[in-house]
Symmetry: C2
Subunit: 129 residues, 2 copies
DNA sequence: CTTGTGTTATAGCATAGATATAACAAAAGA
DNA sequence: TCTTTTGTTATATCTATGCTATAACACAAG
């Protein structure tokens, strides 16, 4: 999976890497059990320092997206332990999005439709449930 | 409207203030044309430096939530000029939320329901549209 | 035994966040 | 007119964060 950094972005490099991995998992381009390149190799590919990648991997591990194995490096492994805490953080961020949307006169139905489009764009196989 | 700072949060103080104002507008507790306390007064109330408040106000102005007037201070005024740019930023943030939600096995309908609950919690008068 | 892994430690540099004074022009109010 | 208050700008200092650089460690693979 191709990952690229935007060195002109105001977003921290390790956050960019973290987000791209999460998007990769959501798109199912990074599958459960798959290994990410090692810290040093990924750093070399991205043109970034080793510690920056390490920080991203540690953050992904902290939030339950990968498991770090000395043998296989960072292995995609979405953890559902402490899921309530993760979900809480996600919804907390969602709340600010909704507040901004209301201020900008985005209707509830439009907002839900955007969520639906984004959701299906990530995982098109989902019908409903 | 009561605004409080969390000095133990990892979120920047000026971002906290900014977000609380946005939430206040979404809840219609801060109404169009209403004035926020002056930079110095707000700083005194929050126990924060003047420049921190100034930075928050400038950020709110930048994103079209207030207009800064030398006579009346920061006046709530949700601007819909350059709305497309604002909406784009909101949706960009939304995309990461959706990606995380998918990874954590949150279904589309659950996500939409949460959006609905949050939306109605902010503006209960909205029926549909 | 060599190599590569995650991990930790230390250091240096640049930027951002927060504070502290100070000053300015413009408008309000007495 | 005079004083006060407003937003705004300019420095300066301090701390924390992000990024880089170099080095070293324990552990496992080959």
């Amino acid at each position: 999976m191709l990952i690229e950094m935007d060195f002109n972005s105001n977003e921290a490099l390790y956050i960019q890497l973290r987000n791209q991995v999460i998007i990769g998992i959501a798109k199912d381009m990074l599958k459960e059990g798959e290994s990410l390149p090692s810290v040093r190799q990924m750093a070399n590919e991205l043109g970034v320092n080793m510690h920056t990648v390490n920080k991203a991997y540690a953050s992904l591990r902290q939030d339950g997206y990968v498991k770090l194995d000395r043998r296989n490096g960072a292995v995609i492994s979405v953890s559902l332990e402490n899921r309530s805490g993760q979900v809480e953080n996600i919804y907390s961020a969602m709340q600010m999005i909704v507040a901004q949307a209301i201020c900008k006169n985005i209707s509830l139905t439009e907002l839900q439709e955007v969520v639906r489009e984004m959701y299906l764009a990530f995982s098109p196989e989902v019908k409903e449930d």
